[in-house]
Every structure is written in C-alpha cells, then in structure tokens.
C-alpha cells in the first residue's frame, strides 16, 4: 500500500480555487460547524440585545419595530441557521468516520448543500442590516405575515431563507442516509451501528418527512403575498389555520430533529467516560426510532389555543404525554450505564451532567404544557419561553458543547484545556438557570412573550433584571469556550489517536484524520469496534489508490457488494449554488425570476453532471471476469468480516 499515493488521490488541494471546489466531508463538515457557530453567536447577540432592553421596565434602548425584528432574527437564526445545520454538520463530519468510510455519499451534493446554506444565512442577515429583517416571529404566522399586514419584503425574506436552509438540510439528510446504509465497514450489521449514526438516520428520515411541509407553507405564504393566491385568506375560502398546521407539522418534528442527535451525543459520551458498553443498546435505538414516529403526532399541541375540536386536543395531549416514554427509557439507560461504570468526569461529561439537570426540568414543564387547561393559561407567556429554552438548550446545546469537547481532539489533533472547559461549563450552567428559571415565574405572573417593554407596576422588574444578569454569564461562558478553542487548536496538548480510550471507529485513525480517513479501511467484529475487535481483525485491501475508490456494502449485514469510484473536487456545486441563490432571491421581487432564473440553474446543473472525460470521475479497466454489473438479486460477493 502506497500511503503517499493514496493521500495524493484524496487530497482536495490548496489555493483558493481548490478551496471553493473542495468535497471532502471533513472540510465541509468543519465549515458547516464554524458557520453554524457564527450564526449561533449572531443569534446570541440578538438575545443579549433583548435582555438589555428588558432589564428595566419602560426601557427605551430598542424601539418596538427593531425589537420585533430582533426577536424574529434570534429565533429564526437559532432554529434554521444554527440548531439544525450544526447537528447535520456533526453528522457530515462524524458519520463517514464512524462507519469507516472514506468520504460521505454524494460529496459534491454535500458541497452544494453547504454553499446554499451559507448563502441563505447571508441573505437574511444582510436583509436585516438593511432594515428588511423579518418581524413576525420565527414561525411567521398569517395573517400578520400575509399580504394585508406584512408590509415590505420582510416576510418574503423569511420565506425564501426557509427555502435555502431546507434545500440544504434535505440534501444532507439524503447523503447521511446513503452513507449509513451503503458505506458501512464490513461487519457493521444494523445491530452494530453506533448510536450516533442511528440517531442521524432517524433525524434524516424526520427531515425528509417534515421539511416538505415547511417548504409548502413558506411557498404558499410567498404566493399569497406576491401573486395574490388565497391559501390563507378567509375572505376567499382560505384559512389561516392551514398555515399553522403546515408549519407545526414541520415545527414539532424539528424539535426532535435537534434533540435526537443531542441524545446520541449523551449516550456516546456516557459510554466512553463510564468505560463500559452502553446499557440497553436495543432499547435506546428503539427509543430513538419511536421518538421519530411519535414526534409527528404532536404538532397540534402548539395550536391548542386556536379552538380546535376537543377530541383532537385530547388526542394530541395523549401523544404529547406518550413521548415521555421513549425519552424516559433513554434516561434510565443512561443512568444504568453510569450506575456501575467507572465514571471519570472530564469536560464532555460535565456538559452531559448539566444536560441531565436542565433537560429533565424542561421535560417536566413539557408534560405540564401538554395538558390543555394549563396550556391555555400560560399560552404565549414567558412560561413557554422558559420551557422551550430548557428543552432546546438543555437537550441540544449542552450535549453539543459536550460533543465539541469530546471530538475536538479528533478534529484538530489537540486537547481542549480542561480548566477553561470547566470554567465555561459553570458560567454557562449558572448563567442559563439564572436567565431562564425566573422566566417560569414571570410567565405564571402573566408576562407575555414578544413585548418590547413592560410597565413598572407589573412587578416583573426584579426577575427580568435577574434574567438579564444571567445572560451576561452565558456570554462569558461562550466567550471562554471560544478562547479555549482558539488557544487549544494551536497550543493544546497533542491528542493522539484515541485520547479518551473510546470505542468508535473514528478513534481508529489519526487525529486529525488523513484525507482518505483510513489508510486501511477497517472491518468490525462488534458494536464497539475498538473494544471488541480482536488484534488481527481484517482490514480492507484491494481498493485502487490512483482513483477515489470506495467500498459499497449491503444494507442489512454490510457484506462487501461492489466498489464505486467517488467524484473529485469540482467548482460546479458552488456555481449551481450561486445560480440557485439568484433564482430564490430574484423570486421575491418578480415571479419571472423563476422561469428565467431556471435557465442558469439548468446550465450549471448540466455542467455539474456532465463527465469531463472517461478518466475523470470516469471509467476504470473492468475485471475481465465481471464484464457486467451485478443485478439486484444476485448473491453477494464472497467475503465479509471474519
């Protein structure tokens, strides 16, 4: 085996043209993570501005119009530009490594999805800076966002940003599904797939089923606004409730799209730092899958206050309480793993323990909100704000921080400082509770969401000031984390291949991994390969080194099926993203942008697809013994892990 040749084949190259053409999943994954974190910081700044404004009664730092844009940008950015993309980004980086593949399936589509996401984010933020930021809340309800009340381009900007991010999310979902189904290391049968990969499979399926709903919601919203359709216009037979159904049919699964990867981070970290196999692997996987199913039966609980029929309300209340069962199962499996494990509390584990506290409180208020009378009482108050921040920050952001501390050594080759990590954890943990716990009480006292100020007579001033002080701690916590990352990526202790003694395949290669991920693609003999594999576990040989040859395996038992030549870097995904962005942005101003803009999109897509020559991304001498391709029902090739 010629390592230098292999690395030369898989290297995307240097220089600005190569950077724009890059297709390596690690490159794209890191870009995704950094970009999503950039949006996290922007969204956090918006939150800081809101807390500044609400710190004192009758504050006049921010006016009502700016405040509307700020809270909308905060919610929209956090949900669409941070939470979903960052989870998919972790999948883009980790899933191929965890299943022992050399790149993600459809690498050029992966590059395209990143560019389109980046352009969507830039588009909405530039609009915001030009005073065209959306101002109807992150769900942009009609009729407020409709043609009668939503003036200017603000709601259109929101609707098209949705199109950008959903295209990107759905592309990544398909890539991750194909990678985890067809590119697993030989021996990694379905019952040996790492928990995180299972979580990304469930998440990806949820994306495929949920995101079309929001695309239809935002498209019909923009059609109502631009070409006078009447989907949501009650005077002409439309109905505003249709919008709410479409939105929440996406919006509730969205919560689980964010939470399920978070839960898998927790399971992975707990297993590693308890130095034992995860307890109840099967129960955990089934919990993730059933959460994926039940997650689609809850959307109406966001609409309990709209006067839907009582039978419907009862059904969705029952489903909302039922979702606590798989979540509870997971919590008990985690506790059982910790119970007689040899637990060491390193920084990733700290965040997991913080997650436990916060998420369980959020889960409890969730069960409370599922009950119709309580929901009617606190609907649209700060109680709801407190609840979903406990669930989302507890369920997703804390596990994410844990995951970043856990996999940072793999991504950079350096360890984060434990001391700074602990400092940032405590600042975040205390700051979070200080900010959001008082909001429960404010909500019960009747403080509504989305008000830009409040009179002093309400008596809400002290708790609001407390919440604003907490936000300051959170800013310091995130700041400490950023300093830690910036400092450690250069000067942190050298990590080595497997600093935590973990079991996943991603730890079987160097830190950071080579361009081709694995010089010798691994095979696996158990659920936790690095703990289960015997010392002479087979490695895959015989893949070509002069082209990007990868091994494709069967879905169920991951027996070797065939080889596939993967694409090389290409500028076309970027060009296609540019033309697509032109179409999306243009369509806000004139419907003609769609047919006219489709022409450059067609040209760039054709350029992307068109083979540049038989040898580039192209043919290779076929073994004489197998002139024709195998048919679907032919027996698998001999081989497979011993």
């Amino acid at each position: 085996m010629n390592r230098a040749q292999l690395e030369k084949t898989w290297d995307d190259g240097r220089g600005w043209y190569c950077r724009l053409s890059a297709v390596n999943h690690k490159t794209i994954g890191k870009r995704y993570i950094v970009t999503a974190f950039g949006f996290f910081i922007l969204g956090g700044l918006m939150a800081g501005l809101m807390r500044l404004q609400l710190a004192f009664p009758r504050n006049t730092i921010i006016g009502p119009d700016a405040y509307n844009q700020i809270f909308t940008m905060h919610g929209t950015t956090m949900m669409f530009l941070f939470a979903v993309p960052v989870m998919e980004a972790m999948g883009v980086y980790l899933v191929p490594l965890m299943v022992g593949a050399r790149n993600i399936c459809f690498p050029r589509l992966n590059a395209f999805s990143y560019w389109i996401y980046l352009f969507g984010g830039i588009f909405i933020w530039v609009s915001f800076l030009l005073n065209s930021g959306p101002d109807n809340g992150w769900f942009s309800y009609v009729p407020l966002a409709g043609p009668l009340y939503g003036l200017g381009r603000r709601a259109d900007v929101w609707a098209q940003m949705i199109t950008f991010t959903e295209v990107s999310a759905m592309a990544v979902a398909v890539e991750i599904l194909c990678t985890s189904f067809k590119m697993r290391a030989p021996g990694m049968s379905l019952n040996r797939i790492p928990i995180f990969v299972w979580a990304m499979i469930v998440t990806s399926f949820m994306v495929l089923f949920a995101m079309p709903a929001i695309m239809i919601a935002s498209t019909s919203l923009i059609l109502d606004r631009l070409v006078n359709t009447h989907f949501f216009d009650a005077r002409r037979g439309g109905d505003a409730l249709l919008y709410q159904h479409l939105f929440w049919f996406f919006g509730h699964p969205e919560v689980y799209i964010i939470f399920i990867p978070g839960a898998a981070f927790v399971a992975t970290i707990i297993s590693t730092f308890s130095k034992r196999k995860i307890f109840g692997y099967m129960a955990l996987v089934l919990s993730l899958v059933s959460t994926g199913f039940i997650g689609f039966g809850l959307w109406v609980h966001h609409m309990l206050a709209t006067g839907i029929p009582e039978l419907g309300a009862s059904f969705f209340t029952a489903a909302s309480i039922m979702i606590a069962i798989p979540s509870g199962t997971q919590v008990f499996c985690w506790i059982a793993t910790l119970w007689n494990g040899d637990v060491s509390v390193k920084s990733p584990m700290l965040f997991v323990l913080g997650f436990f506290v916060i998420f369980i409180i959020g889960g409890l208020t969730g069960v409370m909100l599922a009950s119709v009378p309580l929901d009617l009482q606190v609907h649209d108050t700060y109680f709801v704000v407190a609840h979903f921040h406990y669930v989302l920050i507890g369920g997703a952001v804390f596990p994410l921080f844990g995951a970043l501390h856990y996999w940072f050594p793999k991504m950079t080759g350096h360890m984060l400082s434990e001391r700074r990590a602990a400092l940032s954890f405590w600042l975040l943990f205390i700051g979070f509770n200080l900010t959001f716990f008082p909001m429960h009480i404010l909500g019960l006292h009747g403080m509504p969401r989305r008000v830009y100020t409040y009179p002093v007579e309400t008596g809400w001033a002290t708790l609001n000031l407390l919440a604003s002080a907490g936000a300051l701690f959170m800013v310091l916590g995130v700041g400490t984390f950023l300093i830690n990352v910036w400092h450690s990526r250069r000067w942190g202790a050298v990590a080595g291949d497997n600093p935590w003694g973990a079991a996943g395949l991603e730890w079987a290669t160097s830190s950071p991994p080579p361009h081709c991920n694995f010089f010798e693609p691994p095979t696996v003999a158990g659920r936790d390969p690095l703990w289960d594999n015997p010392p002479d576990q087979p490695v895959v040989v015989g893949l070509r080194e002069d082209v990007r040859d990868v091994l494709i395996t069967y879905v169920l038992d991951a027996e070797p099926d065939h080889r596939e030549e993967f694409p090389t870097p290409s500028i076309w995904p970027l060009l296609t993203a540019i033309t697509t962005a032109g179409l999306f942005v243009g369509s806000i101003y004139t419907p003609w942008a769609v047919p006219i803009g489709a022409i450059p999109v067609f040209i760039t897509l054709t350029g992307w697809f068109w083979p540049t020559g038989p040898d580039d991304g192209g043919t290779q001498p076929w073994p004489v013994t197998q002139r024709t391709l195998p048919k679907p029902n032919e027996a698998p090739a001999p081989g497979g892990a011993a």
């Binding site: 015989g542 080889r563 043919t619």
Partner: protein, 201 residues
C-alpha cells in the same frame, strides 16, 4: 505485533444496479421528499375543501376532463419505453438505450405540451378563490416535476449519443427510469384530486 488479516475487495465489480447502487438510495430519498410534498399538498387541498360550502365555488365549473385525461394516458404509455430503456441499460445495450430514451423524450415533450392545455382548461384562475390557488399549486407542483424529468432525461439522452460513455452511465439511465416512474405514478392521485374531487365531493 500481530498483523491484521486482510479482506481483499479488488475482484468486486466497480458498480451495481438497483438497490445495490448508492444512486438508487439517493433517488429513493428524493422521491420520499417529493412524495411527501405531494401528500401534504393534497392534504391541504382537502383541508381547504372542509372550509367551503361549495367546491368548486359557485359559477366555477370543474376542470375540463379532456386534456387531463389525455395526458394521463400519455404519461402511462411513457412507462413502456421507460421500462425498455431500463431493461436495455441493465444489459449495457447502448443502441437500445439510445432508441428508448429518444422515445421517452418524444412522449415527454408531448405531455409537457398537453400540460399547457390543462392549465388553460382548469376554468379557474389562481387568484380567484382558495380553490383556484390550491388547484394551480397542485398542478404546478407536478408540472415542475415533468419539466425537470424531461430536461434531465434530455441531458442524459444527449450524453448517451455524444459520450463519454462508461458503464456507470448505464446505472444513471436505470436510476433515471425509477424517477420517471415516480413522476408518472404520482400523477394518478393528483389527477384524481384535481379532476374528480370537484365532481364527486
């Protein structure tokens, strides 16, 4: 040190058809997304239906059956050359692939053309009632699919004539035929909703 054993894969074929190929799984994913989009739009249609007493609204005749029904037949017939192109691709038979792809393209041009007539025969504008909006939306959503399917099959057909031809291009032809089936089959419920729901409900 113990040397790992090896699993030699050099004899495996460089590709596979059907569910063996990653492209098949990718195509399935896309179908899932778009099938979901169709299903949700049909759901929205019936949701709006419950909000009106009259469907279609008074003085609006239901869409004329003629062009829609003709197009349904054309779409169904296009399944035949599509199947033959797929079979030829799996036998790596370039001449037959070329022939049947061209037939597909001709039928594709036909159903795209008839689609224009369909829009004209809806008897309602998109900006008249919610009924008109959802009817146009449903027909428009399917039209984007027949247009893109026509165009991408067109590009593939040109490629099969000009080259560079490689074995993996035949996998593309095979996967393209799955997508063609999807677009044809998705039309049947949409045809039922657009043309028959206003008559029967």
């Amino acid at each position: 040190m113990i040397q790992p054993r090896t699993l030699d894969v050099s004899e495996l074929a460089p590709g596979g058809f059907g569910h063996r190929s990653i492209l098949w799984w990718g195509t399935m994913g896309i179908m899932l997304i778009e099938g979901m989009a169709f299903a949700i739009t049909i759901g929205a249609y019936f949701f709006l239906r419950t909000r009106s007493v009259y469907w279609p609204p008074p003085h609006v005749p239901p869409p004329d059956l003629r062009w829609g029904t003709i197009n349904t037949l054309i779409l169904l017939v296009s399944g035949i050359p599509n199947e033959l192109a797929k079979k030829a691709a799996e036998k790596i038979d370039l001449q037959k692939v070329r022939l049947w792809l061209v037939v597909c393209i001709i039928l594709g041009a036909a159903f795209n053309a008839v689609r224009w007539m369909e829009f004209a025969a809806l008897n309602v504008r998109w900006d008249q009632y919610a009924y008109g909006s959802i009817t146009w939306f449903l027909l428009g959503l399917h039209t984007t699919h027949i247009v893109t399917d026509f165009l991408d099959t067109g590009v593939l057909t040109v490629l099969m004539f000009t080259g560079p031809i490689e074995e993996k291009r035949f996998v593309d032809v095979s996967e393209n035929s799955y997508y063609w089936y999807f677009v044809v089959l998705a039309w049947l419920p949409i045809y039922g909703v657009i043309y028959w729901a206003p008559r029967l409900l």
